[in-house]
Symmetry: C2
Subunit: 455 residues, 2 copies
């Protein structure tokens, strides 16, 4: 899922060496001629033209995502920042999209990764692009403010632990005249759940009294089923009496599949006893969730409604780096190649544009054509060649639809495509996943091929 | 290797909610009372006292790195930023330190990770803390400028590929009246290396003419031994005639151990033929280097002088996240505990200070004492208890040296310890590694224990 183009555009807009940069470089390169630094002072991105694939598009290996034309020295100077800005954004957006797809239609994913990201800015990038990849919200409040992304979170363990048996919460545990703690203890008595932790109950009551319509409790501090879930239900029964509906609970340790089933059953049973429908209370689960765990949880028929995913989302633990590269493919009209003993590492020479060929409204394969070959796509028959397997070709007759993915993105220091908000891109990402071949994006069963023209 | 304290101090110094933050939060929490937002507007870090271990210290699991005291709501609000700022800094500093130790005394490590970090700021953090961990430089020029870290790099493949056989470099390939290209071709003829790539030779000559005393060539574009290394030597022979000494070459693909040996042999042989000592020319190697590869390269008796490490340094691929946590351990003088079914996950309650006990000037173990137990360390006999293995104790009689690691770091909005530059910290890191038990830090053979007092 290609992402990060906004960041590249922002970088190009401000790309300029200032006096302090030049001074530093002069000290580092005493042998360089003064004219070099004068040249450096004068350059900016106005001499560059960028073609590429708009972000939010599903892309594949070997495709030129951006193609940057201009004086070679300037094109070369921006290599590393461009790679830096695209690599992580694309990686984390793809990772989020994969996790979201694997979670299935009924389960939502929220990003919880701030504490494990590479600093505050790494975290902001992770939040922004995991939202674009299909996550529904973040626990990063500042990111929520900057990008207008829904924020969400639950109580911390330390909030619960800050209470104890003797904490006097009497003065602030009333709703509409009812002492919520006393009433919750009455339900506990009635339900014969006398072994739940008292300080935990106090903390839940205190939270519920502040946010009676937003009560979501973290239940694993003193035992998920034997204390947390039961205390949550006692407080929820009081809230129900008073006309409020609790939101639900968060699991943060243990066997999440089994615990979520036990919690769901206890919700249903307890609700029934008092004539409330507690079957739809939300179960949030966190604790090292990644793609493998999601797969296992699905197989174990979990009862979770929301995954809170942090570490494995932002560090992309399954593949911590995306190996996007920036290569010279053409100079003064001449195609350029870099040889390697590994076929797959040989650079595909020449300026290429990417087209997506559809069959029955489903993407069938992509083809890269040289700049001067665009008319091939309007011919009656299109033959596509595998880039590495000699002799492997595909021929399509009168394809119903071919999308040109490569667009002009930046020219003369100006953006030359319709920019979109992160919300619009997110919608497009989700729509594309539905249109795309199910076997490719939802199950990894099938490889999607990227072909070349004969030339 | 504890790192990131500078970032935490900088954060504490500016911790304050401004009007736009308050406005955003009001919209997000319409049910909260106006007094809450007034309170929020008034808070800052002045009410916090931070004790902890200065950064640049070797630390171990279960130790309280920072201990933050103050009103619980404020202490709680800063949890996530503090973890964010410490986790990655400590992880990458530790990772760099491990790689540097594994590389051995003769080999230096340079950070090449900008393109794979989590954005520009993630990259800056990686550069700063890998330098502190013992790296000698970076390819990130901006980080070099900000932190006064030596910058270093080599030619890019695209520089080499931008030349071709017909590129006319005659007008700028002279040094002291000598046509370097012509003379290099004469050496090539003499050495019967006629199959080297001409455009590569042109690119090397062009670079050497601009930087005759900084000639370091990337040699794997058209074949490392058959072309790159030979072209490098032809140009170096011209430079030697003219009174310049080349720096060396960079390997970026293939079997780095074998290639470095072949290159070293070709250096020595060729130097001998012309009476130059080429045995000390620098061999830089990059290409997915990590701890495992370093171990393998050492076993294969490589001839590399400098490792350029990018991806696996900044993404900390061997362990992409550090699981530092922030827990409530004491409230109003009462110790607090969080129970878990896994013994190792049980929180150690109470405010603890860390002491390092030496035997024969080598750290032997660490012990955590409660605040009010400091006099234990001046007693004749100190008994230390294992935190999880009941009955495991160590008793030391009159230890020669006990260092108190925990210091007061921040109070009343002010730093209360002697801050150091990144260069000073780097020196301390390297010195500590020498003083520390060899079996612990250099070979992973031995576990270093962290004990508790009986209390």
């Amino acid at each position: 899922m290609f992402a990060g183009l906004d960041e590249v555009v922002q970088f190009l807009d401000v790309f300029k060496f200032n006096d302090s940069h030049i001074e530093y470089l002069k000290k580092q390169m005493p042998q360089a001629e003064p004219e070099f630094f004068e040249w450096l002072r004068g350059i900016d991105s106005k001499s560059l033209t960028v073609h590429g694939i708009p972000d939010g598009t599903i892309v594949f290996g070997k495709q030129p995502l951006l193609s940057i034309e201009g004086p070679i020295a300037i094109v070369q100077l921006i290599e590393t920042p461009v790679l830096n800005l695209l690599n992580f954004a694309t990686l984390v957006c793809t990772n989020a999209s994969r996790m979201n797809i694997k979670s299935g239609e009924k389960v939502k994913c929220i990003e919880f990764g701030l504490r494990r990201a590479q600093g505050p800015n790494g975290a902001l990038t992770a939040t922004k692009y995991s939202f674009m990849g299909g996550f529904v919200g973040t626990s990063n409040v500042y990111a929520g403010m900057l990008y207008d992304i829904p924020i969400s979170g639950t109580i911390a363990h330390s909030f619960i632990m800050s209470f104890d048996d003797e904490t006097n919460i009497d003065s602030h545990c009333h709703i509409k005249g009812t002492n919520v703690l006393t009433r919750a203890k009455e339900f506990r008595e009635e339900l014969k759940w006398t072994n739940t932790n008292d300080s935990e109950l106090c903390s839940f009551v205190s939270f519920a009294c502040s946010y009676p319509d937003k009560f979501l409790a973290l239940i694993d501090t003193f035992g998920t089923i034997k204390s947390g879930c039961k205390n949550f239900l006692c407080v929820s029964l009081v809230l129900s009496e008073l006309g409020y509906q609790s939101i639900g609970i968060r699991l943060d340790s243990g066997n999440l599949a089994i615990l979520s089933q036990e919690v769901r059953n206890l919700f249903i049973e307890t609700g029934k006893k008092y004539d409330h429908d507690y079957s739809k209370l939300t179960i949030v689960a966190s604790d090292g969730i990644n793609e493998d765990k999601i797969r296992q949880l699905n197989a174990d028929d979990h009862q979770i409604d929301i995954f809170g995913i942090g570490t494995n989302l932002v560090t992309c633990e399954a593949q911590p780096a995306l190996g996007m590269v920036y290569k010279l493919v053409e100079i003064e009209g001449k195609p350029k190649i870099k040889i390697s003993e590994e076929k797959e590492k040989v650079l595909l020479p020449g300026r290429k544009k990417v087209f997506r060929v559809y069959e029955n409204e489903t993407p069938s394969f992509d083809i890269m054509l040289h700049e001067d070959e665009e008319d091939l796509i309007s011919a009656n028959e299109l033959t596509a060649y595998h880039p590495f397997d000699d002799g492997v070709t595909v021929t399509v007759k009168s394809p119903t639809r071919i999308d040109k993915l490569t667009q002009k993105l930046y020219e003369n220091g100006q953006v030359s495509f319709k920019t979109k908000t992160i919300h619009e891109k997110r919608t497009e990402v989700l729509e594309q996943i539905e249109v795309f071949d199910h076997a490719v994006v939802k199950s990894d069963e099938k490889t999607y091929e990227v072909y070349l023209s004969k030339k």
